[in-house]
């Protein structure tokens, strides 16, 4: 099946306007005849569910947490980009577009990214109107700060809790619709299968996480807003519950999965402290605005206290290697540089897996109170976790898995290869290429939910007039039966290993073989080991309790089972992509000074994988990346 990205013709800047005019509309009175399921209630899911309900569609929204307000978007700290040029520093839609394309190492779809930059300003307007308490200047206007990968100040923020405030804005809009009866909310409910009838997505099968009841929900379209798959690495900055289940089960029903090997390792996280560790905590990238990253020049200085290493013996490696961007180099580059110096034996802290993020200069230059005002909550968070006061000693940071650029393949309308299945936010692949810039995830989630999907989904309804099916259809019963069987199987193995121990082993394997740096031999080893581990899981996992009750081990085991399958696709994709780009760094492909070496001639495409059945290799479909406007250049932040 050839992939049709449905990118509109015409000049880049006019594509979205033209497309919006070409999209078919659904009459306001007819909208209530269409049922839409939205899975996930983060920025993308909540904004989509609210906006679709406002338009008049009948919406059901599902989340596994106890309230839609808890989705992991809430943890985003730093900010949201928008091309408002409020700072008069030369920003424009085109510049945001270009920075994002370049930041993504020329592996994103040009038309999507341009549209993202175009609607970025509307997002800020929308959020302000909802009452999001963005930071303000004394004159009452909106404040901005700069962020990694950009040389203008275009990031809007609400202290260090921007994700929380934007999500609460979307959550409140969603709550308003729930109160009006236009959205039916299903918290503590997990999607366990997608139902496809006559080639179209027609609904989902869910498990009520309190009662254990397996149920069916039919609709005219299904929207997945289920976030990323970073937890396949076990340790990541994702919330404990984040999982790949929804997009993975959709993949097994025919929705292609694109670019799974594009994973983002965030440079500023609190280092691992021990085996017991359940997750990693991010320290906002905004800290790199004022913090300076360094390690000692000599190995023998590493065990010493930071304060006893004199200035001349410190290596501010980001400033040294990338003088024009310095500590604000993009995430993939900063992470790799940190890994490099640690690999050289110059890391600091336990196990030598850490670098300093030092605020001493900023405190001298700005005064303690300014640093406190800007980053106080982050310093507090750091102290809670490490017991160290970062106003007095430098923070120790190390890269950690943070975001996944890959996801379900979608066309320009955000529809997957399955008609009627839309995928938005982090769950899709489309806008960040091989590396996401800071403050762009919030932008994309809200762009998809507020300003793109509400237009494009109407075109699907008006254009195809999908046939109605009910949840009593045999296909739903079959899917329910499969889910029940899977649940019973997990409960009946009664082996010797806990889901956590198996998940941790999988994560460790991936981090070592398919993490910040990858190579052919390592990936092949991982591809041999993953099926063995999966076998072990299905033979030896231990899940106690029953299916008809609140059972957290059972929920978790189901998610781990999907990670066990997904991990293989991740490594297959990483192995096939014989180039380095963005977050995908293949050691065989680097420049003499250790930078990623892209191969545009052979790999300027989106790799979309199609499921072929259990124990069969997936087949690869290529969507060529055609750049009509920008010239693919080698990224330089020097």
């Amino acid at each position: 099946m050839p992939l049709d990205s449905k990118i509109p013709s015409g000049p880049l800047a006019a594509k979205w306007d033209k497309h919006r005019f070409d999209l078919k509309l659904v009459n306001p009175a007819n909208k209530r005849k269409f049922d839409i399921i939205v899975v996930g209630s983060g920025l993308a899911g909540a904004s989509a569910a609210a906006s679709l309900a406002e338009l008049g569609y009948k919406v059901k929204c599902f989340c596994f947490q106890d309230s839609p307000r808890r989705a992991h978007s809430i943890a985003a700290q730093g900010g949201i980009n928008a091309a408002k040029n409020y700072q008069n520093d030369g920003d424009s839609i085109y510049r945001l577009f270009y920075d994002t394309i370049k930041g993504g190492d020329f592996r994103a779809r040009e038309a999507n990214v341009y549209r993202l930059a175009q609607v970025s300003g509307n997002i800020i307007d929308q959020c302000v109107a909802q009452g999001v308490p963005f930071a303000r200047e004394y004159g009452g206007l909106l404040a901005n700060r700069s962020f990694g990968g950009a040389q203008v100040s275009r990031t809007f923020y609400a202290r260090g809790q921007t994700g929380q405030q934007l999500l609460l804005g979307a959550y409140q809009a969603l709550c308003r619709q729930i109160g009006l009866g236009t959205v039916e909310m299903h918290p503590r409910t997990e999607m366990l299968d997608l139902v496809v009838i006559d080639g179209q997505a027609k609904g989902i099968v869910t498990r009520n996480l309190v009662s254990g009841e397996i149920g069916s929900h039919a609709a005219d379209a299904v929207v997945l807003a289920t976030g990323g798959y970073g937890n396949v690495f076990f340790l990541s900055t994702n919330a404990k519950g984040c999982n790949v289940t929804a997009t993975w089960r959709a993949y097994k029903k025919g929705a292609f999965f694109a670019n799974p090997c594009y994973t983002q390792i965030h440079p500023t996280c609190i280092p691992v402290s021990g085996e017991h560790q359940s997750k990693l905590t991010l320290m906002s990238e905004s800290l790199r605005n004022d913090g300076r990253v360094w390690v000692p020049k000599r190995k023998e200085d590493c065990p010493k206290a930071a304060s006893s290493v004199p200035e001349a013996d410190r290596d501010y490696f980001l400033e040294r290697k990338y003088p024009s961007f310095g500590n604000l180099a993009p995430r993939d580059i900063s992470s790799r540089s940190a890994k490099e110096v640690c690999d050289e034996g110059r890391g600091v802290g336990p196990g030598g897996l850490g670098v300093y993020l030092d605020f001493a200069d900023a405190i001298r230059r700005l005064g303690l109170h300014v640093v406190q005002e800007r980053y106080g909550n982050l310093f507090d968070m750091y102290e809670k976790i490490t017991g160290e006061n970062a106003y007095q000693v430098p923070m120790r940071i190390y890269p950690a898995v943070h975001y996944t650029m890959g996801g379900s393949w979608v066309d320009y309308n955000l529809m997957s290869t399955l008609p009627g299945l839309f995928v938005i936010g982090e769950a899709n692949f489309s806008d960040h290429g091989a590396n996401r810039l800071g403050a762009s995830a919030l932008m994309q989630g809200l762009a998809d939910g507020y300003f793109v999907l509400p237009y494009t989904i109407g075109n699907y309804f008006a254009g195809t007039r999908p046939a109605k099916v009910a949840a009593s259809h045999a296909e739903f019963k079959r899917a329910e039966e499969n889910v029940r069987q899977l649940t019973n199987k997990l409960l009946s193995i009664k082996g010797k290993r806990t889901p956590t121990s198996l998940h941790r082993e999988l994560g460790k394997l991936l981090w070592e073989k398919c993490g910040m740096a990858r190579n052919e031999a390592g990936l092949k080893e991982a591809l041999k080991r993953i099926p063995e581990l999966r076998d072990e899981f299905w033979k030896n996992v231990n899940v106690t309790g029953g299916g008809g009750e609140l059972n957290q081990s059972l929920e978790y085991a189901g998610r781990v089972a999907d990670f066990m399958e997904f991990a293989e696709l991740l490594c297959i994709d990483a192995l096939h992509r014989s180039e380095s780009c963005g977050g995908h760094f293949r050691e065989e492909f680097q420049t003499p000074d250790g930078e990623a070496k892209r191969d545009d001639e052979n790999f300027a495409y989106v790799a979309a994988w199609e499921y072929q059945g259990p124990a069969k290799a997936p087949s690869l479909h290529k969507e060529p990346l055609v750049y009509e406007e920008v010239h693919m250049s080698t990224r330089s932040y020097k």
Partner: protein
């Protein structure tokens, strides 16, 4: 360090609960409280028993999902700290720790330490929003907001909706939660148009959910992981009073 845990176990909403004792051995001070429970749960699972059910998600103090009463205090009593950010360095070898769920009529226990906090969502559904649809909003800078006002609104908006305020209150009042949401919006020019309705409806829903009355003892503020100020309750009372007097 080695610890003794007394943990509330309850099969489901209907079943009676009881305390059970567990030994937590080899606990490291760098572990978070929830990681300590993870380790205990791994042991329980290895023995073929059912692990202790508790809620958590982000584990960085922002999603508001975690909710444990630790030694009688919601979130364990360290200022501005949610359970997930509480670390074991605050405990010492040989300690006995009692762990319970939130206890309030409006937050029924679902299992062990997991409670149902949907009442909070319904309060927000009643009026905790600004009624604007997507699209058609003016440029963000058309609505100037004085920095002091924006900062104060943000202080209130920082609430994570965990429910510790209710769990700490002898009356199980939700006033701090309601006051924080109402104040966040009522302080801003964007929220002014619906200020009266918001105060009335949210309080009405709060009462309907079975939360108790506020007697301003301040236990809520003391346990709030985001240190939301009691003064917002005064603001809500004022907003409510004005709206009620106007007969809205």
């Amino acid at each position: 360090m080695n610890l003794t845990l007394r943990v509330w176990r309850q099969k489901n909403a209907e079943a009676p609960g009881h305390f059970e004792t567990y030994e937590a051995r080899g606990v490291l001070e760098d572990m978070s409280f929830l990681e300590m429970l993870d380790v205990v749960n791994e042991g329980i699972l290895e023995r073929g028993q059912e692990p202790i059910a508790f809620d958590s998600d982000c584990r960085e103090g922002i999603c508001g999902m975690c909710s444990l009463v630790i030694n009688g205090i919601p979130h364990g009593g360290h200022r501005g700290t949610a359970t997930c950010q509480l670390h074991m360095r605050h405990f010492k070898d040989g300690d006995t720790i009692t762990i319970e769920p939130w206890r309030a009529k409006a937050f029924p226990v679902l299992k062990d330490l997991v409670t149902n906090r949907s009442a909070f969502d319904r309060i927000v559904q009643a009026g905790g929003f600004v009624s604007v649809n997507t699209g058609g909003t003016p440029d963000g800078n058309c609505i100037p907001v004085a920095k002091t006002v924006a900062d104060k609104s943000m202080d209130a908006a920082a609430c994570i909706g965990c429910g510790a305020c209710v769990a700490a209150c002898k009356n199980a009042s939700a006033m701090l939660f309601v006051a924080a949401k109402a104040s966040h919006l009522n302080l801003l020019p964007q929220g002014k148009a619906e200020k009266d309705q918001r105060a009335l409806r949210m309080v009405e829903q709060m009462d309907a959910e079975g939360f108790g009355n506020c007697t301003v003892t301040g236990s809520c503020e003391a346990v709030c992981p985001k240190e939301i100020s009691l003064s917002f309750i005064a603001k809500l009372n004022r907003d409510f009073g004005i709206a009620a007097l106007q007969g809205k």
